[in-house]
């Protein structure tokens, strides 16, 4: 059974069901709770759904039993003891001697390498300085030379190889939702979704379906604030697929 046919069986809207859920979990109090209870008395469909939720929630409690707790305390103490007993290399006199010896060997190798380099007559070479920079509009108009590479001064030795210019591409913009969404006639999984400032990552390969996600929206307009990435049956994310499916305007220009 897919999400749509499942949802069709339940006449209670998502917002109402959430309120029922809050009531069931003791998260709805005061006038709100009282009003909802009064509605439960008047509306059979609402009362039926509440009874279903109550039964499911109640029965769920017995489904994940826990085996007897092992002796975590002793195991933790044992592991702490192992750590404490392990001699810290640098705390011992032997460790200090070893460190000193390694420093001496390192210094010796350094001297040898410098002598070798001096004998070969090579001059020190500065590394190429590459500045990744995106030209501003003004720079584009006033100068056709990209200000990306620092030119060598006359006193600097010639470079062995020409530096490679790297210009960082501007970050791809997140896809933006168009004003309408397409009919939900295909099955895709939601790879990730962000609603305003609240990240709601569903990074499971087979996570919430689009229908489930949209079921939470109070209206189609509410979906406009969402950034959504969909995944196909193999869990391959695709922003362009999301764009096509949800009527997104794919600002990223593809996957």
């Amino acid at each position: 059974m897919n999400d749509r046919s499942f949802r069709r069986q339940h006449t209670v809207e998502a917002a109402e069901e959430k309120a029922l859920q809050r009531l069931l979990h003791g998260e709805l109090r005061g006038p709100e709770a009282r009003q909802l209870r009064e509605r439960l008395d008047r509306e059979p469909a609402l009362a039926r759904r509440y009874a279903e939720l109550e039964a499911s929630w109640s029965a769920l409690g017995e489904s994940l039993p826990v085996p007897p707790t092992p002796d975590v305390e002793s195991a933790v103490r044992a592991r702490l003891g192992e750590t404490d007993r392990a001699p810290a290399l640098w705390d011992t006199a032997y460790g200090g001697l070893l460190a000193a010896a390694m420093l001496l060997v390192g210094a010796g190798l350094g001297w040898w390498a410098q002598d070798l380099w001096t004998a070969s007559g090579a001059a020190p070479q500065e590394p190429a300085v590459v500045v990744a920079q995106t030209p501003t509009a003004d720079e584009t108009v006033e100068s056709s030379t990209p200000p990306s590479i620092r030119q060598p001064t006359p006193t600097e030795p010639p470079r062995a190889a020409a530096p490679v210019e790297r210009v960082e591409e501007p970050a791809a913009a997140a896809p933006r939702l168009a004003s309408t969404t397409r009919p939900l006639d295909e099955d895709f999984e939601v790879w990730s979704a962000t609603l305003g400032d609240e990240p709601e990552w569903n990074d499971e390969l087979f996570s919430s379906s689009v229908d489930e996600l949209l079921a939470e929206a109070e209206s189609p307009r509410q979906v406009e604030g969402w950034d959504v990435t969909l995944a196909d049956g193999w869990g391959l994310p695709s922003t362009s697929m999301a764009a096509a499916y949800l009527g997104l305007e794919d600002a990223a220009g593809g996957d």
């Binding site: 999400d3 039993p65 826990v66 609240e198 499971e204």
Partner: protein, 204 residues
């Protein structure tokens, strides 16, 4: 003089933070008290998330070791168990993530190691064989459906349904808003109902 309700509610927390402060100063007896108070709940949380005894035990140990080693860095704010739950939940969710990446197999098959034969009988088995079989079948289906939930939804169900946390507490543990807890719970329950359609009510 009897303590007020608020003092009683705060008492375990003050005791915990006091013991943690002593732990930071090297008092292992104080650390032992923290272990004794919280090991059962923490292990239960880890087991319910990981569904593997060995992994759950290892995860609980890791969390306590981290607490011990970083005892001096924690600010005494709120309840210590919230901090422990947060550490444990993050640790377990990371383990589940690594499982997923490493094996690319359905969660229910990754959960139990080969030698993990733990399985309790379903609650209140009926004396009638047919009904007992049906009850067992529903119970197993429920467990399988829980293990198929996305990690963030499973975490919320475990924290709210099994650990008895309020939405606000679960939100603190997971570092999300109360609204996110509510949404995840809503989606999880719909998903469970959908997956268990035909099995009668969830579990059973």
């Amino acid at each position: 003089m009897s303590r007020t309700k608020q003092e009683e509610a705060l008492a375990p927390s003050l005791e915990d933070w006091s013991d943690l402060s002593r732990t930071a100063a090297g008092d292992e007896v104080a650390f032992g008290r923290i272990l004794a108070r919280h090991q059962e709940r923490l292990y239960a949380l880890c087991f319910r998330l990981l569904q593997d005894r060995g992994e759950a035990e290892d995860a609980a140990q890791e969390v306590f070791l981290k607490l011990y080693r970083k005892a001096s860095t924690f600010e005494p704010r709120g309840q210590l168990f919230t901090l422990l739950y947060r550490m444990a939940t993050n640790h377990c969710l990371n383990r589940l993530r690594r499982r997923k990446i490493a094996q690319f197999l359905p969660l229910q098959r990754q959960g139990a190691s080969d030698d993990d034969t733990f399985e309790l009988d379903p609650p209140d088995p009926s004396p009638e064989p047919d009904r007992a079989t049906a009850s067992r079948e529903r119970w197993r289906a429920t467990r399988a459906a829980l293990q198929k939930l996305p990690r963030n939804q499973l975490a919320v169900v475990v924290l709210v349904r099994f650990e008895g946390l309020a939405y606000k507490e679960a939100a603190e543990v997971l570092g999300v808003t109360v609204g996110a807890v509510e949404s995840r719970l809503f989606r999880a329950m719909r998903r469970l109902e959908r997956d268990l359609e035909g099995h009668g009510p969830v579990a059973g």
